[in-house]
Every structure is written in C-alpha cells, then in structure tokens.
C-alpha cells in the first residue's frame, strides 16, 4: 500500500474543495466529464496498441499498491542462499527457494542450480530486466501522454461550449451559467492531468528505478553465489547498491 499516493490524491481533492466550498453542484457536469475523460482515453487508443492501453489500468493500480521492495531483506535472503550454497552445495538451493520469493530470483536460482553457464545466466536475466524496463517505461509514458491530452480535450470542450454560447446570446442571463459549464472541461482537464495522470506517471518512474535496482542486485547476487563467493563478500557486493545509511551492518564507509 503506498500511503503517499493515496494521501496525496485525497489531499489534492480536499484542498480543491476549499475553493469549491458549498458550490459542489456548480462543479459537476456529466457531459464535461465525458468529453475530457473519454477524449483522453480515445486519444490514448489512437496513440497506442489496444493491449497497451488495457495494460495501463493494471499499471495505474500499481502506483497505489506497490510496496517498495526492502533491499535489506533482499540482501539477507541472498546472503542466506550464499550460506546454504557454501555449506550444502549449490544444488541445495533448489529446496531453499520458497513460494514467497521474487519469481525473478527463483528463476535465476533455478538456472544456477541447473548448472547453466554463468555468461548465459547473465544474458538471460539481463534480457529479462531489459524487457521489464521497457514495459515500465511504456506504462509511464502512456500516462504522461494522457496528461498532455487531457488539457487539450479540456480546451476543445471549452471552445465548443463558448461557440454554442456565443451563437445563442439572446438571453443575457444565460450567458454566465453557459460559460461556467464551458469552463468546466478546462477545469477537469487540469485536474485530470495534474492530480491523476502526471504525478502517477512520475511515481511509476520512481518505482521502476527501485525495482530495476533490486533486479540488478539479484543478478549480482546469483552470479556471486554461482562463482562460490564467500557470503560475507556477497553481502559487501550487494551493500554497494545501497545508500550508506541503509546498509545492513557495514561498519566502514559510514561517511555521511
């Protein structure tokens, strides 16, 4: 559960409500919402293959539920593997992998147990990581493109509203409310882009870089285990991926 994402979205709407106050009715207009939300999704369909747009729903949810991986736990786990491999031989790792383990790590360990050539393991896992990175980038990019489309459809809706209003100016009393509705699409476009699309796109980027780092730690760890490294060395190698203050028990290098 990512508290910051949820708190941020709720807070953004709460702060917006400070401006709206009791005028919530004046802010709601179904056609305006349909133009902006529908238009934004439609433009995403034109830009991307259908499957990617559908995928984006899952990607979007990830920004709420993604638990940021705790690298220290991962290091402990890999060091544990290294100890098992040292004591009981690398084949013993087959039993050591558990259901809760990262599937990527499980696959890597299985490759090592099978006696695959180190270079080939490296190749296979690096290719995997490359595809994960590409998939992450695409998900984040689709949301960023939608964050550009939303204000554009907001403006399209406002222009349509203005044209209709200007054509029918016989009743001056109707001008104000008509223009208010016209402006709602611009408002919706701005909120959609600045609360629900662009920030989520950026959060996904942060998640991606953290997840890729753990994948690279796993690769480094498996290579080290396969080459028979001392568990202590494995730990040192993996700790180098972390900021000093996050490192498990390293006494050296505690410079701030």
């Amino acid at each position: 559960m990512d508290i910051a994402t949820i708190v941020g979205i709720i807070a953004a709407f709460a702060f917006i409500m400070v401006g709206v106050q009791e005028n919530i009715g004046a802010m709601l207009n179904a056609p305006s919402a349909i133009i902006v939300i529908g238009g934004t999704i439609a433009s995403s369909l034109i830009m991307n293959p259908l499957s990617e747009v559908i995928n984006t729903v899952g990607v979007y949810k990830k920004s709420f539920v993604n638990k940021i991986p705790v690298p220290t736990e991962l290091i402990e786990r890999i060091v544990g593997f290294a100890e098992t491999a040292r004591r009981e031989g690398i084949l013993a790792l087959e039993q050591a992998v558990e259901d809760g383990d990262d599937p990527f790590m499980a696959a890597g360990v299985k490759l090592a147990v099978d006696g695959t050539e180190p270079d080939l393991i490296m190749d296979i896992l690096e290719t995997e990581v490359q595809f994960i990175e590409d998939r992450h980038k695409l998900g984040s990019q689709i949301l960023a493109d939608m964050a550009v489309a939303a204000p554009a459809f907001g403006m399209i809706g406002t222009l349509i509203g203005l044209v209709i209003m200007l054509k029918n100016m016989s009743d001056p009393a109707a001008i104000g409310p008509a223009m208010a509705i016209a402006l709602l699409t611009t408002l919706y476009g701005a909120i959609l882009a600045n609360v629900l699309l662009d920030p989520i796109s950026k959060k996904l980027k942060t998640y991606s870089s953290k997840e890729l780092m753990t994948k690279r730690m796993i690769i480094e760890g498996i290579m080290a285990i396969q080459s028979g490294d001392n568990p202590r060395i494995v730990e040192t190698k993996l700790a180098a991926f972390l900021a000093p203050k996050l490192r498990p028990s390293s006494d050296e290098g505690e410079a701030s």
Copy 2:
C-alpha cells in the same frame, strides 16, 4: 486492420459530440476548415520536399491498416527455413521462399542462397533497415510538425475573425455569432492536432519500432541459417527478441 486507431478516432469524435449535442450546425464552417486544414498542409509543403508530403498520405493510411507483425509466426517460418537448410542444403531454400513471405526476408534468403559473404549480407540488410528506419522517422516527424502547425493556423484564423469583428461592431447582435465563427478555427486546430495528427504520429513510431524488430530478427535468423546453426539454436536466438511470455516454447527464463 488496427482496431484501436479506428475505435479511438470514432470515440474521440463521439465524446466531442457529447459537448456539441444538437448544435452541430454551429460547429460547421467551411472557410474555417479550409484555413486550418489548408494552412497546415501548406506549411508542410514549405517544410518538406513535395515527394515527402505526398508520401505522408500513404504513411497515414498505414496507421489504420498496418497489421502488427506476429513475431512467433516469423520465428516458426525462419526455424522452418533452418530445418530445410539443414536437411536439404542451403540451396533448397530457393524453392522454400513463398510469395506471401516478407520481401525483405526473401531478399535475404536469396543472398544466402547465392553464397554471398556473410559480412556483405549483413551490410546490405543493415543498410536496408537503416533506410527503412529513416523513412519511418521522417513520416512520423512530418505528422508531428503538422500537429504543431494546426493550432498555429487555428490561432491565425481566430485572430483574423476577431479583427474583422472588432472593425464592424456597429451591430451588437452580430458580435456573438461572429466571435463564435472566429473561435471555430482554434477549435478545428485543436481537434486536428490532438485527434488526427499527433496521436497518429505516435502510433507510427510504435509500429516502426515493432517492424524494425522483426527486420532485425530476420537478419539474425538468416545469419544463423547461413552459418549452419541447429534449428533449435536459431529458435533460441530469435526468442531472445521477445518478451518472455511471448516466447514460443522456451521453458527456461520464464521469470516474470
């Protein structure tokens, strides 16, 4: 047939119609359309050689009819060639190529059958791929440039309309409708850019990267066949181009 492109465009206009409602008449104005569409095309003519602008029409259609190549079928086909070459010798491939095959692949196979040096085949095919990539980039770029020009001509049209209106303000009742017409060019420019030009430019980029990937798979496959690789190895090499879950029958590397 690319369903997403067509559905996206139809949906975008449908959502826009939610705002227009019964005022469709107020939204249509031939001179406004001529200024924006004509001006956008004219600016593209100034920017690009004539032949490229004409080419863009064909490129544009491609975003509707392009069937995304199915890489697994391509792998099967190349592995089939590899098996034939293994069993009956590389010369037997001359008969194996069919009319339905990718002409790029056919040309590559012919080069291999002719006993061309591997380095030269590589060179010839890579040069080809480079030109395909450049042509794709240019097509996508022309549409992106038009997506920038369209709102500019929309604004030019609106300014002209406003100037005319402001010069003739004797009849207050005419001001509203005159301004409505002036705004139509801005509206047309925004729709043109955000529905019909920019998203298509982005979809063409996606297509291009997928097509280039299949071309690179073909090159890799032909080089492997010529060097006499085992069909199983050929398949493994080509599968590495795909995301793990798309790979045909590879049991290893199934990490998520």
Copy 3:
C-alpha cells in the same frame, strides 16, 4: 527551383485569404508590420554577429532555388572518373573535370591528381564538410530563433496597442477598431513565424542533410578512385548511400 516552397507559401496565404475575404483593408496596418518585422530583425542582430544576419538573406533565398542534387547523376559522374582513371591513369582526371562539376568534387579530384596522401585528402575534405555543416546549422538556427522572436514582438505590439486603447476609452465606438489594430501585430507575428520563418528553417535542414550526403559520397568516391578500385566497386560503394529504390542498376538488395 523548389516548387514545394513556393507553392506552399502561396497556398498558405491563399488559405489565409479565405478567412480575410473582402476585409483585406482591415488586415493591413503599416506600423504593426514595422514593429513585428523590424523587431524580429533587430533581435536577430542582437543575437548574432552582423555578417551572419546579412548571410541569412542568401541562405533564405536558397530555400526557393536550391535544386535538390540528383545522387544518381553524381554516381554516374564519379563512376565515369573511376573508368577514366582505370583506363588512362589518375592523371587523366585533370582533363576530365569540367566547369559544371561540383567545385568540392573538382577540388577533391585535383588533390588526388596531385598525388596527395589519402589520409590528408580525407582530412582536408572532411574539414571542409564539417565547416559546410556548421554554416548550414547556423543559417537554419538563425531563422528558428527569428521564428521565436516574431510572436514575442507580436505580443509586445498588441500590449502597446491595448495600453493606448485602455488609456483612451472615452469614445466607446473607437474601442473595437483600436483593439483590432492591436491584435494585428499578434497576427503578423504568427504568420511570420508559421509561414515564413519556421518552415523555411526546417526545409534548410532537409537540404543540408541531402547536400552533406552528396559531399560524403564524393569523398567516398575519390578515396575509392585513388586506391584504384574497380569502377563497378565504386558504384556499389556509392549506391549504399541511396535508398534501395533509388539505386541505379543494382539487382541485389532489392528488398522493399
């Protein structure tokens, strides 16, 4: 003569006239034109050395008269040189160069005839090409910078017009026409940038890349001739610069 540039500019103004209709008088205002055109040129003078700004006039004209070099003719010419060199020795090329030939090619041939070291020829010609590229970039960049300055001066003019108008609002009937004139500078700035500056800057970029390609073909050709390559080889080497369908007589590599 570049038909597309001329047709594009004429068409752009024709489409703009569709909006202007019989109100051409309302669109013309000498002071507005002076502010925008003058200000854009003045800002270019501040940005660039005087000589470069003057140079830009010639560069600008080039986008109308530049005939795109026909690379197949160039290949024929170089292959002809290669044949002469083969048959009659490299010294015979001195007579073969004609007045109509590209001066860059003539200089290169002369270097080869003089028996200059290949590395030095390469160096001299590459340096030349580098300077041509820098000069082209600068010309295109100056127009791109002017395309940014034009709307800025358009806005400056409109703000001045608005301030004057707002200070003198005693005669309501004069407000409309005064504001119309104020808007004209914005209109002029938009037309200047989007019809006459930015698209020409982009066309110059296209020309530049085509011209640089022919220069690189010439270098490649002269190096091949000097090293005594077979004319057939020279042709193959140069044909690799062209898109497959443009290549003169190559039967291989006809992949689409």
Copy 4:
C-alpha cells in the same frame, strides 16, 4: 548563511509590494493560499515516496544556511595531512583528524590509515559520492516538479472561482471582487513557482556541483597521500580543480 538567497527572497517580495502598495488586504485570501500551497504539496506526495517529500524540507533549508565550502581551506587541510603522513607516517593521521573535519574526509582518512587497498578506497568513496549526487539531484528535482505544479493549482483555483462567479451573476457589483479572489490563486501559484520553488531548485543544483567538487578533491587528495606523494605535488593536483585566480600559491598557469 547564504546572504543571496535571503536577500533575493526578501527583495522579490519587496518589489512585489511596490505593485501592491496599500492594497495588501486585497492580496490576502486564506482559501486561495490553501488551494495552491496544499495542492502543490499534495501533488508532490503523489509523485514521490513519502520519505523523499519529508526530506525536501531539510533540503530546502539547506539553500539558506549552506555555507559554500572554501576549497582553499580544504586544500590547506589536505596538504597538512600529506605533510603529517610524510613526516610521521600514515598512521599518524588517525590523531590528525578533528571533529570539525568533513565526515567524508574523516572516513576516507580512516580507510587509508587502516591500510585498505587504494582501489577499494576509491571504490567506496566514489560510490558514496555517487549516492550524494543522486540524493542532491532528487531534492532539486522535487522542487522543480513542485514549481510546475504550483501554477497548475493556481489555474485550477482560478477556474473554480470563475465557475462559481459565473453561476451567480445576479449581483453585478459582486462580480469584480469575486473575480479578484479567483485571480489570487493564479497569483499565488506564480509567486510560489518563481520566487520560492524554481530559484531554490536551481541554487541547490549549484551547491551540489560545488559540494561534489570538494568531495572529488578529497578523494584525489587521499589517494595522493596514500601513494606517498610529496605535499607539494598534492597541492598542485588539488589546485587543478580550482579556477586559476582561486589557486593558493601557484605561480605558473596564471593566464587569465
């Protein structure tokens, strides 16, 4: 204490007050401030992990109190270490490090005293510097993202205010003041972005590059000390990091 930051912010508000004059009351509106400041912070929460947003407060303060490191003093200190190491052996440095010293330098000296391999010291310190750089970049980037969000929330607030006003136009006298309040969020967004967020983000970048330079000087110095370099050589090596006029006593290289 960074005088420029504080003077700049105070001056910016003072110059803004020149426009406000006695109308300070008209400029203050609590709900407007809440929308803009709250919305900006909320969007930062959606974009970033919670810990990073909290961190930003400390980073922000740094732009006021950061004393720019004086590299000449640092050079003197390191040269002093080099002299001690020369005279009394490298172990004597353990006593030489003082509490006031840069903790990064203290850690580096400790590594050297412990007889750590030079390559490993290099590795450990470089990794440290890399993390410092990443952390600085992130802090600066969060403020830059907030500088983009602030005007967006300003616009959202203004649109809300306009919609409310347009819906209730029965009392013409209330329109002016209502619109004034609506505009305040845009004003707050502009001030927040252009006085308090974007410039601080840029100042942090400058600090970062200066701090990283001193860290790199420390690494260079420690490596030189460990390899037993003459103090004079150590000084020359470190002086190369400085602009010529800042170098302590170097007589050569005084070119301007």
Copy 5:
C-alpha cells in the same frame, strides 16, 4: 565595439516606438518597471551565488565591447613565434612576447620557454580553457534564466494590478487606465526578455565559442612550436581551424 548588438537594441526600441507613437507617457510607469526589473534581479540572486550575479554585469557589458578575435592575425603571430623559435631557439620567445598579446598565449609561451613537459603544458592550458568555458556558460545561463523570470514577474505584476482594479470597480471610468497600468508589467517583462536578456545570452554563447576556438588554436600552436615544427606546418595546422575562405594563404583545399 560590437555594432550589431548596439544597432539591434536601438533598432528594437525604435520599432517599438512606431507602435507607441506620441503615447510615450502612457507607456511609462515607475512601479511597473521596479516590479519587473527588481523581481528579475531578485530571482537571479535566489538562484545564484551573489558573486556570480555581480559578475554578470561585467559579462553583460562584454556583449557590447567584445571585439571578435581575428584568427588570421593570431595565426600570423603564432607563425612568427615559430619562426623566431626556429631561428634563435625557443628561449628567444621570452623576449618576443609583448604586452598586447593574449595573456593566455603569453602564459603558454612562458611554460614552453621554461622547458615544461609538453603533456603538462597541455594539461595546464586545457584546464584553463575548461574553466573559461564553464565561466562563459554560467554567464550566458544566468541571463537565459533571467529571460525566463522577467515575463513571470511581468505576469505577477499584471495579476496584482488586475486584482486591485477588480476590487475597486465603483468608478467605471477608472477601469481602463487601471488595466492599462496592470498590462505595463507584462509589456516590460516581454521587452526585457526579448530585447535585453535572451538575445544577449545568445550572443555571449557565440562569442564564447569563437574565443574558445582561438584558445584551442593557441594551444595547438604552442605544442607545435615546442615540438620544433616548421613554421609552414604550424600555419597549416592552425588554418584547419578556419573556414576555407578565411584561411590566410593556403592554395589547396579551396573547395567551396
């Protein structure tokens, strides 16, 4: 004296006056000028260390008085040094350097005379050039940042003016003039950015690249002299830095 800078600025203001005509009084408002100019400088203080902002004044003046170095004169001078060194030995250069010479060149010659190792001379001078380049970049960047801040403070001033005006709409006759004053800050911001800041920032970039080229020519020349190159070779090496038509007497390579 850079004529183009001065002529450009005077011309820009002259063209702006074409729009102002006799309404110069309406265009002048001290508080508006204070907000925009003061705010722009204040934001620069927040962004940069105090010393850099002060430095910028000198940098700014440079765009008026900088005489573009004449590289042919420089080549002649260096070739002269080469001849002296050939005839009378390198020590004779000590007397040859004059007060009018570029101090950078004087320092380099002194290093050569002192018999410094070529690699060290190279290092020292390259470091110098690197610092000059960084300093130039910073100066140009500070002006570019101010060119972004000026319109922002223009908008802040206009918003303040609008809010004050909207709060006090009791006297309709006062609305026009009040709004006129409000718009002046936007006008000032646009002029400041587009006439006095952004173009100067770009001119400084051009100067910088020309100055750095002469510095690199000097380094090349000194290295050549120290290694005892023939003056004719020195000249050829330096001429390669120039566009062909600017080269002093080179007969070869005259291709256009």
